[in-house]
């Protein structure tokens, strides 16, 4: 890709010089439309890895096809799933896994792509969930309209609260988002005007849901919706991240000040990320409503956000597939760890082991600590770490003996 550019350099100097006269950067960018010579370099990975890797590049498609046909399969997956792949129970669990994979991917738009540590993402998820449910229950909207209403509510709320909380940065931002989400959670619990049903939640009205989404025999449809949500989220996030805006996000994540010095206002870009992530979470709430048949306040708690955080970190924040992987694994684990916790294998253990092992949340917390500690970068970076360990080049050079430096800082 280097060759094409070479011969045009002299003319370009002139262009640049001409640009100077106009003074403002905006204008001269327009008159360089002439020679769109070099192809967009695209994904850097493709340039580094060729051949086999190019073929392997299609694995997401293969995976998607596998996911799509899963309901037709009676394949037993002992240990992983309680029942054959295509059974309603398995499909329901898989659908939840995929939903959370999508939610985590959306959340990582903030954490891993823009560097925003939000502790209040569950609020937008819960907004989509409750607004859709209430749209049907209270406004008697048909499902599709209620879903649009629900997602719009999340988007608007994200826009409103995002524009406030993004005015502070760092830990302040985390705390404000946490506080807002806490307020939301309290509001839901408080059952204002009987709307949210408080701690009991509200189940979705069966009469307003499409009949194809009701009943156990239609679990596959719900599953496909979850697949659709995941594909949509992943596509939206990947597309956005690859887009020019995504480049700005990456810049903001890595060095916000530097982006500002280029003349871009990070606030707006962060807000876009916040609203997009909020909207995707809201849409996730709609899917969740379908999957669980109702809205319950657990969805709005700060624990729900923490769960997303755990998923993202588990899988690998800022990586392409990590959050998805983390979301799927976490959801699967939190459903199946319960089985482990209740299994007879655990019940027969001495109390020192049995008591902690019978607490799924303990297992999750401990697992999380272990991942943070042992797998910096999450599961998605594991192959790269193994590869670099094998080739002997410990990639992120763990500072040599001379760098022993307890505080990591230098006198300013």
């Amino acid at each position: 890709m280097s060759a094409e550019g070479t011969d045009t350099s002299s003319t370009d100097t002139a262009t640049v010089a001409r640009g100077t006269d106009t003074g403002l950067a905006e204008t001269h960018c327009e008159h360089r439309a002439e020679s769109g010579a070099i192809p967009r370099t695209g994904d850097p990975v493709t340039n580094r890895w060729t051949g086999v890797h190019r073929a392997l590049r299609w694995w997401p498609i293969a995976l998607l096809i596998t996911l799509l046909v899963a309901p037709y399969s009676a394949l037993p997956v002992p240990g992983l799933l309680d029942g054959p792949l295509g059974s309603p129970g398995s499909l329901q669990l898989l659908a939840l896994c995929l939903l959370y994979g999508g939610l985590a991917t959306g959340y990582d738009l903030l954490l891993g792509r823009t560097g925003l540590l939000s502790f209040g993402h569950a609020l937008y998820f819960a907004t989509g969930l409750y607004a859709t449910d209430l749209g049907m229950l209270e406004l008697r909207l048909p499902f599709a309209a209620a879903a649009v209403f629900g997602v719009s509510c999340s988007v608007l709320l994200a826009l409103l609260l995002g524009s406030v909380s993004l005015r502070v940065t760092g830990i302040g931002f985390s705390m404000v988002t946490l506080a807002f989400a806490q307020a939301g959670s309290i509001l839901v619990q408080r059952n204002p005007g009987g709307a949210t049903g408080g701690e009991e939640g509200r189940s979705a009205p069966a009469d307003l849901l499409p009949s194809g989404l009701l009943g156990i025999e239609n679990t596959a449809n719900l599953y496909w919706i979850a697949v659709g949500y995941l594909v949509l989220t992943v596509a939206a996030v990947h597309w956005a991240v690859k887009s020019p805006i995504g480049r700005v996000w990456e810049g903001i994540k890595e060095n916000e000040r530097r982006v500002e010095v280029l003349g871009l206002r990070p606030y707006g870009y962060k807000l876009v990320a916040f609203v997009l992530a909020g909207g995707l979470a809201g849409l996730g709430g709609v899917v969740y409503l379908l999957l669980t048949g109702g809205a319950t306040p657990q969805a709005a708690t700060s624990d729900a956000t923490l769960a997303l955080l755990v998923m993202v970190v588990l899988g690998g924040s800022g990586t392409r597939w990590g959050p998805l992987l983390g979301g799927v694994l976490y959801t699967w684990a939190s459903h199946r760890l319960g089985d482990l916790a209740n299994s007879s294998a655990v019940a027969d253990l001495p109390a020192v082991l049995r008591v902690p092992l019978s607490q799924p949340l303990f297992l999750l917390g401990a697992l999380f600590v272990a991942v943070v500690y042992l797998l910096p970068g999450g599961l998605a970076r594991l192959p790269a770490r193994i590869r670099s360990a094998r080739t002997g080049r410990s990639a992120p050079a763990p500072a040599g003996p001379g760098t022993a430096h307890p505080t990591g800082g230098t006198p300013a």
Binding site: L117, V164, S165, R167, V168, T169, G170, I171, G172, S174, M175, V176, L178, A179, F180, Q182, A183, I186, L187, R190, P192, S302, L306, L309, V310, V313, V355, P356, S358, Q359, P360, L361, F362, L364, G365, A366, L367, F368, V369, V372, Y373, P376, P406, T407, G408, G409, T410, P411, A412
Partner: protein, 288 residues
């Protein structure tokens, strides 16, 4: 009038409870830049240890509280040595690791002692009431206020008078220069964590008095308000945390009572948002 007095006194008590939790949080953040999500867990550990010593092991309340505080301190030291210290160079991972501990510890407590509240030993001396200007105020609120005031005083004395306090104050300003004077800052970190843990555990023990019971989620429940207090007080400032604690406690108590729907929590949230927007560095101006 007596209602206002009552609200004021109990609001102070609530603020004192927040301060007991937030002081350690603030101290740890100030020196180490670690937002300790496991702080609620330390509180719960202190509360359960006190409860265990008092109710199960049959110790008197006056011995149970130091015991609980000691256990909480030990837990904090272990946490610092084994979890935080290896992650010194990875600040965000430190936060995440404490999140994990914050999830695991309450679950463990639940596994051992069940999810239900356990009645907390209440010494006769502290279960009565005092009459203040026509209001009947529970004595333990004053105990909390006194404990918080003592803690504030002790922390200020520690910071002002002791060598380690000196190290902590200097470390907040310039960590590297402290090491350049031949001081092992890591020891100060462990100490600060221990202190924070002790304060949290004491908060847990006295929180048991306040709630009359202990349950696994108690610490985590208080943590969010402690965070709010720390941020409002200006991260790292113990005095700022004290001021913010009192403010939050009073606002919450009055708002809970006087607004029909009980908007106490919401008003605190709004207070935080407004304060951060007006003064992004909190009350005392340290950089958030």
């Amino acid at each position: 009038m007596d209602t206002v007095v009552l609200l004021f006194c109990t609001g102070l008590g609530l603020g004192a409870l927040y301060f007991l939790v937030a002081s350690g949080l603030s101290l740890i953040f100030g020196l180490m830049d670690v937002l300790n999500f496991a702080h609620g867990a330390l509180l719960s550990i202190g509360a359960y240890a006190t409860w265990w010593a008092g109710a199960e092991a049959g110790l008197s309340f006056w011995l149970a509280v130091p015991f609980g505080t000691l256990v909480g301190t030990a837990a904090a030291v272990l946490l610092e040595l084994f979890l935080i210290r290896p992650l010194y160079s990875r600040p965000r991972d430190q936060i995440l690791a404490t999140v994990g501990v914050g999830l695991a510890v309450p679950a463990l407590l639940m596994g051992i002692w069940g999810a239900d509240s356990r009645p907390f030993p209440q010494p006769e001396l502290l279960s009565g009431t005092w009459h203040v200007l026509g209001a009947t105020v529970p004595v333990n609120r004053f105990v909390l206020v006194a404990a918080a005031a003592l803690l504030l005083l002790a922390l200020r004395l520690f910071l002002a008078r002791t060598r380690y306090g000196l190290i902590v104050r200097a470390g907040v300003e310039d960590r590297a220069m402290v090491t350049a004077l031949g001081i092992d800052v890591r020891k100060a970190f462990t100490l600060v964590f221990a202190l924070g843990g002790a304060a949290a555990a004491l908060g847990g023990a006295l929180g048991g008095l306040y709630f009359g019971s202990v349950n696994p989620g108690q610490g985590t429940g208080l943590l969010i308000f402690a965070f709010v207090v720390v941020v409002m007080g200006g991260m790292g400032s113990v005095t700022g945390a004290a001021v913010a604690s009192v403010g939050v406690g009073l606002v919450q108590q009055f708002a809970n009572y006087y607004t029909g729907a009980g908007l106490g929590d919401l008003s605190v949230v709004v207070l935080l948002a407004v304060l951060l927007l007006v003064r992004p560095r909190g009350l005392t101006g340290r950089l958030a």
